[in-house]
Subunit: 157 residues, 2 copies
DNA sequence: CTGTGTGCAAACATTTTGCAAGCAG
DNA sequence: CTGCTTGCAAAATGTTTGCACACAG
């Protein structure tokens, strides 16, 4: 798996172009603005949110939701992006250009908070070693109710 | 978060009934068989799979997918169950009546090793608290190469 | 030019909602 | 009896596919 951690936009773009060429695919304006927007906003985007933003910022492009889906899936397939999903609320995507981190996810409103914990990562390594595994990666997602949703759930309703 | 770890079915059922009463909801056959089936099978169920199984095992009930969704959401909202998303497919639900165990997965041969680590669990709680989340569950999956496959991988490939 | 990419509309898949009838309390 | 619950059908939501035209290489 290619390591694109800490790449700046120019490097990322280069990586994307190489990857397209290798697969016999074409570099298009749509694909470019999707990559650029993901890079600039550094958030978890749902396809729908990203699409809305793109239509607003690049009205002339008249970009379709279909293209957004296709490009996000393309990025994920090639390890330039990662999606995290929570069922009915759909997937959210982020670029893989920053150091590894994990996610806290509110099961009520879908809010995502990132966190990083070196001690846990260390412990994971240790567990892997104990079982004679050579680690290549991991998923860790914590699910719960965020502050706002705890209030909502208890107060009214 | 209510602790329902290690409850047997009778206790779990009691907990469910109390919870329903507290919310002014009713105890119905549908809700009962859903709880019981989740308890018995001790797996991650998608709503469709659970629905299919329920229709097969309790044909007279003629249970609707709607009820399955509603009950699973009810259980999750009250922390008796947790839903997680495996990959790109929909949600899967499991009861919270067992201590959470996690998985080490060999990406080559698919072998799965279960493990449990109290320190990591504690740390996760701490992280959640720092972000004012009330935890309901988590996924932690470590991916890597198991001992046997490390040998194989080095030989060939 | 060639074949991939695009937007659109329609198809699909999954989950939620409106409703009339059923049933728990 | 009261009003929550249910199954059904329809709607809403999220995602993919077929197609004809556009465009990168």
């Amino acid at each position: 798996m290619k390591d694109i951690e800490n790449l700046n936009y120019k490097e990322l773009l280069e990586e994307f172009k190489i990857l397209l060429k290798e697969s016999g695919l074409k570099f298009t304006t749509q694909r470019e603005v999707i990559l650029k927007t993901l890079y600039k906003h550094d958030t978890h985007f749902s396809p729908e949110d990203l699409h809305r933003l793109l239509r607003k910022k690049f009205p002339k492009l008249n970009i379709g939701i279909t293209t957004v889906y296709r490009t996000l899936n393309l990025l994920e397939k090639n390890s330039l992006a990662t999606s995290i999903s929570f069922g009915s609320q759909g997937k959210k995507f982020e670029l893989n250009n920053k150091p590894h981190h994990d996610h806290l996810i509110c099961v009520t409103c879908g809010k995502i908070v990132e966190f990083e914990d070196k001690k846990i990562e260390k412990k994971q390594e240790k567990i892997a070693n104990e079982h004679e595994f050579e680690l290549t990666g991991h998923i860790m997602q914590l699910y719960g109710h965020c502050k706002e949703c705890q209030i909502k759930d208890k107060g009214i309703d």
